[in-house]
Symmetry: C2
Subunit: 430 residues, 2 copies
């Protein structure tokens, strides 16, 4: 919808048709856990930025309950299923955007399609989860330790349910280092969530999850394993699929087929540090992809910047953030990397309510070039990840980061900002 809006703005006379298999447009999937938990009131409607009707009033022909079934790039048309009318028709295009999004990963396990096993992706999912939370669903099992699953576990605890996370690894949030993941697990447990690490899920039966450590009773199972690109439609049309099965795009969001573009959780990005294609499903990238694709489809010339995978989450009063590469990821990418970790506080030490924060910077040996960072602490502490993301984008070394003129006042940090303290520590190890 971001792309459609951009086309509308840039090319007022173009005809724009949007095919939406569901009935919602322009909503914040990231907000679902907060609606389920009741922090955000007003139900799932609160997450809608712009309804199909609002888009229509702006001259965008949104057709809900219309599913794109096939693309014929040679003929330049799409086969569409009109679910309401129960008929199929073909719709021609001059320019086509494939914005099929992502889907929760559903492992191929017995019982995976039982109705009590839910993903967290669409507002339809949100409605189901909210309904269950409000009806007093008691036993929730989250499969996998991705951030959306953790956020939902916290939300269901807020609703008075029990919540158990079952994770194959020893700790949740596999994209961050294990010791950071352990601290996240501890915070969840402190909040009343049960965390079961190193446990495999083997299947589902009505009312229970079968695991390598026996059955777990469950009224609801939430899939929190991650997201995969919904690229089947594009793949079937011969559009190039690449990293992690995501649709391959250039920095204009153009696919391998002339006149076909892609944006959002179905499309790949380029990593700023490695220069390699990468699949990272984040709302910010989807939005940016859409903006770039839309302007280019309208004859403009805009480029998507490479990405760092900067992400943040707030769990049980804990803020966790990451940007760029972990040391492990850097080594996997063939870089000679090291990390420096510091523990400090988010206020001057003489404040009795100073909160702990841990910063880990990852850098390239010899050059000292910053490659990534992880921060865990209070929620405002974690947002300091942006300083690091900016420094990585600028190609700064840890010595340059240590020299940054960052804001200081006693209610915010010790004299040196935690990011600068970590950079100082890293300088010693270059």
């Amino acid at each position: 919808m971001t792309a459609a809006s951009r086309i509308r703005g840039a090319a007022p006379d173009d005809e724009i048709i949007v095919l939406e298999a569901g009935r919602f447009t322009s909503y914040s999937a990231c907000g679902i856990p907060f609606v389920v938990g009741g922090v955000v009131t007003g139900g799932v409607e609160a997450l809608i930025a712009r309804s199909p009707e609002e888009h229509r009033r702006r001259g965008i022909d949104v057709r809900i309950h219309h599913e794109a079934m096939a693309i014929d790039t040679g003929a330049g048309d799409v086969e569409v299923l009109d679910e309401g009318a129960g008929r199929t028709f073909r719709l021609g295009y001059d320019q086509l955007l494939v914005a099929t999004g992502g889907a929760p990963i559903r492992p191929d396990l017995p019982g995976i399609n039982l109705p009590f096993v839910r993903g967290v992706q669409s507002l339809q999912d949100a409605e189901v989860l909210l309904g269950l939370a409000e009806q007093g669903c008691h036993r929730v099992v989250v499969v996998g330790g991705g951030y959306i699953g953790l956020e939902l576990a916290e939300s269901f605890i807020e609703r008075g349910c029990t919540a158990t996370i079952v994770e194959r690894q020893a700790q949740p949030l596999g994209m961050i280092d294990a010791d950071f993941g352990q601290r996240v697990a501890a915070a969840l447990v402190g909040h009343g969530v049960e965390f079961r690490g190193k446990v495999d899920v083997e299947g589902f039966e009505p009312g229970q999850v079968i695991t390598s450590e026996g059955p777990l009773e469950a009224d609801l199972v939430v899939l929190g394993i991650g997201v995969r690109p919904r690229s089947e439609l594009a793949a079937a049309a011969g559009i190039e699929i690449g990293v992690a099965d995501a649709i391959t795009v250039d920095d204009r969001q153009a696919t391998s087929v002339d006149g076909v573009w892609s944006a959002g959780d179905c499309a790949a990005s380029t990593h700023l540090v490695t220069g390699q294609p990468v699949y990272i499903a984040l709302g910010t990238y989807a939005n940016r992809h859409g903006r770039v694709a839309g302007l280019n489809m309208a004859g403009g010339e805009l480029r998507s910047p490479p990405v760092l995978g900067t992400a943040i989450t707030k769990l049980c009063q804990l803020g966790i953030a990451i940007t760029g590469l972990t040391e492990r990821a850097a080594v996997d990418a063939g870089l000679d990397a090291f990390s420096a970790t510091i523990d400090t506080t988010t206020k001057a030490g003489y404040f009795s309510d100073a909160e702990a924060v841990t910063v880990r910077l990852t850098a390239e040996r010899d050059t000292g070039r910053l490659l990534g960072a992880q921060i865990i602490g209070s929620d405002s502490a974690a947002k300091r990840i942006d300083t690091v993301a900016t420094a990585i984008t600028a190609g700064m070394t840890v010595a340059q980061v240590a020299d940054l003129d960052l804001a200081y006042a006693p209610p915010f940090s010790s004299v040196w900002d935690p990011v600068a303290v970590a950079a100082r520590e890293a300088i010693k190890l270059v």
Copy 2:
């Protein structure tokens, strides 16, 4: 003391003598308002990072109540007044650091030296202010709208006193734009502080402040006009004094005289954007100056980075931050500058507790190079100034800032971070 510690670390056999006119070392002057307000407990002692005795144990010969009266750079010695013994003696040096700090500006007005007119600089000042706050001092008048004065006004309100700020300008915090200053004034007034703008102070009499709008009753007057460098000792010794009467130093913290160095609130810095000398008295710079001076005095080779004047304060739950140049300052520096301002929230809009934040970016016309920023909002919102400071240091344009991969989750911002939103707005005006 930072310099002394650095020399101790780098040159274990060097003799290090520190002359301190008072009796405290290594304290956080920035923390004084929080001790006076009672947010920080434990009295002024809480602000001391390292006492003279602790320094002595580390081999630094700290002599308290010893005041440097004159420097003879030809002979290489200092005339010292030992206040306890009531005698003067000369002390030779191989390398000398002038770290005489800053002093509250005391305007030349009748009654300025009356004992109820106090600065906020030393722990002695802090002891007096804390004592008055605890003894139920009722009517406090702050002269000037600098941030330390505003912080103290808030602190005295917390203690149940009345606090009136008398400021020559229409609004406080002259280093930020007037409309931001007005919002700070409104927050102070909302907290119970009386703010009197466009009022001149004409003098002091016991129990009252004489102003252009008549007398104000006061048990205590706090000077909050700003800080000046205490450079008289250096000037009398023929050491070069420059911008705003601060001691001129190169990026090694060396003064115009061989073997004499300077660091802290008595010394100038170099502005990163203009490349010109600038006097900005901040704890971060003092600490950094000291570190650089100390290592260089011990034979090392370290450079002080140029500064942006990045500053932050928390007043009455409001966070206010600045970095780089305001538009006015940029124009004064001969730059063709413009500003873009946006209002947004610190959480996704569907959170009922989303807080307002305003970001103003200042950039160079034609190039779009970022020159400065001001942020006002919640306290965590203001710390986003660091993203801008990092971007300015990297020489980024507003278009590059709009493309930064900043962290997003609904509890932290709308999909686009306020800094990126402001950069988008600025792009339109380049």
